[in-house]
């Protein structure tokens, strides 16, 4: 029985989302994360057990390799995709309250900026981590951020930007968010950003990549 969870973890780690996935070659033709999750549920494992004993440790292993520069963004992405394929089957348990989401996070690229690839990668990694992500897209105004936070009480916020000329919009957005709900934690990321900039505008932290961000969120949630 334990083998089932181990195999599921391996599939997530290697990014094998389902049986049809051609990679990695050593798992070709075998069940992937989607099928194995169904089998684990049928075998009587609870959603929380599957999450905590197979899926999360697998993501942790990929994350550790990423932190050691032995894995890179594509590896994080395929693992997160496999994780999301597994989570699809666990959704009903989250909805019924039997298992818990980590919480809600509002994500968006700031006003004047259309760069969405970085934000999209962060989104899929966080979804894989069990966060309920509210994606506001690109060119998100301060008002849109503030309204989203009001609509989703208790949510955290992640803002992304590509250029120094667009990242300045983060301060305005942060103030609008805090004016609505003062205790909201707001994090920032994107190519030209730094921790110094985050401190300067009063944000709660800068993260250079989705993994370090996800780790921090794990710590505070």
């Amino acid at each position: 029985m334990k083998d089932l969870l181990e195999q599921l973890g391996l599939c997530v780690e290697k990014g094998k989302s389902d049986r049809n996935a051609a990679f990695p070659p050593e798992l070709r033709g075998m069940d992937g994360a989607s099928e194995l999750t169904l089998k684990a549920l049928e075998a009587g494992f609870s959603a929380n057990q599957i999450l905590n004993e197979a899926l999360m440790p697998a993501m942790q292993r990929v994350g550790d390799r990423f932190a050691e520069h032995k894995a890179f963004i594509p590896d994080l992405m395929i693992a997160a995709r496999a994780m999301n394929a597994a989570m699809e089957h666990l959704k009903p348990f989250f909805e019924s309250g039997e298992a818990q989401h980590r919480g809600k996070i509002v994500l968006g690229t700031v006003e004047g900026d259309q760069h969405d690839i970085g934000k999209n990668i962060v989104k899929m990694v966080l979804k894989g981590e069990g966060w309920d992500v509210i994606d506001l897209g690109t060119n998100t105004s301060a008002t849109e951020f503030a309204e989203a936070v009001a609509e989703h009480p208790g949510s955290l916020v992640g803002m992304s930007a590509l250029l120094t000329t667009t990242m300045v919009k983060m301060e305005e957005s942060l103030q609008a968010i805090r004016a609505k709900i003062p205790a909201t934690k707001v994090f920032v990321g994107g190519a030209p950003l730094s921790q110094a900039f985050s401190d300067q505008i009063g944000a709660d932290g800068y993260f250079p990549d989705p993994h370090s961000f996800a780790l921090h969120l794990r710590e505070i949630s």
């Binding site: 520069h69 594509p74 259309q114 120094t164 000329t165 190519a191």
Partner: protein, 235 residues
């Protein structure tokens, strides 16, 4: 005299370097087979999604000068700061350029994300960035040929946002080019639309020299040229 030159090169004229794409993923070597296969497949398709446009305005001797740390092109004064000034202070002309691969690749990449193929979406985006760089190289070669034809010399290319030159100066740069030049528009924040576009200048003049970027004199840690350099030193 004609001073605006614009082109629509065909894809095969560009030198798209696959290794740069793997490098952008993080792999300096030993790229996993899976990523190589997807990249190869998408590279073949990218040709149809890219809409290549490139061009420049040629500023002849007398319409460009550098003094007191600033660059003056026609009626615009640029705060190019020390690093670029040191490379361009002997210019007497310039080529102000823009290149764009259109929004086809961005849309294509976005579609992959929507269809739950995020890895393909990410790699398509990287391919788009590499094509844009290759297009800028292509245009730089055109500018070099133009300079040679007129018996003058040229510098490396420099872009707002690099080497301590503020991106905010994009507005001045675009004021020297016709509206919607090569299909590129600037928004209020100085962001070019389509995304996969590059702007900049090349200095020209008898005393100009093409030199490598002087990264050792810049402190921008997040600059990818610096990151590549530190990897090279480490390995």
């Amino acid at each position: 005299m004609k001073d605006i030159f614009s082109y629509r090169p065909v894809f095969n004229e560009l030198r798209v370097n696959k290794e740069n794409i793997f490098g952008a993923m993080g792999y300096e070597k030993n790229t996993p087979e899976q990523y190589i296969q997807i990249t190869d497949k998408l590279l073949k398709e990218a040709e149809h999604a890219a809409e290549l446009q490139a061009g420049y305005r040629w500023l002849s001797p007398g319409s460009a000068k550098a003094e007191h740390g600033k660059l003056v092109l026609v009626d615009q004064v640029f705060e190019i700061r020390k690093i670029i000034y040191s490379q361009l202070h002997l210019l007497d002309g310039a080529a102000v350029f823009a290149v764009s691969i259109g929004s086809g690749i961005d849309n294509w990449s976005r579609k992959f994300f929507e269809e739950d193929e995020p890895l393909a979406g990410y790699i398509a985006d990287l391919i788009g960035s590499e094509i844009a760089e290759a297009l800028a190289d292509w245009l730089e070669a055109k500018i070099a040929a133009h300079a040679l034809e007129l018996g003058t010399k040229h510098s490396n290319r420099y872009s707002p946002g690099y080497c301590d030159w503020s991106v905010a100066e994009q507005h001045k740069l675009f004021s020297l080019l016709p509206d919607n030049f090569c299909g590129v528009r600037l928004n209020n924040s100085g962001l070019m639309v389509p995304q996969k576009s590059i702007s900049g200048i090349v200095g020209t003049g008898a005393k100009m020299k093409w030199r490598e970027y002087p990264c050792d004199r810049c402190s921008l840690e997040t600059c990818y040229k610096q990151i590549h350099k530190s990897h090279e030193t480490a390995s």
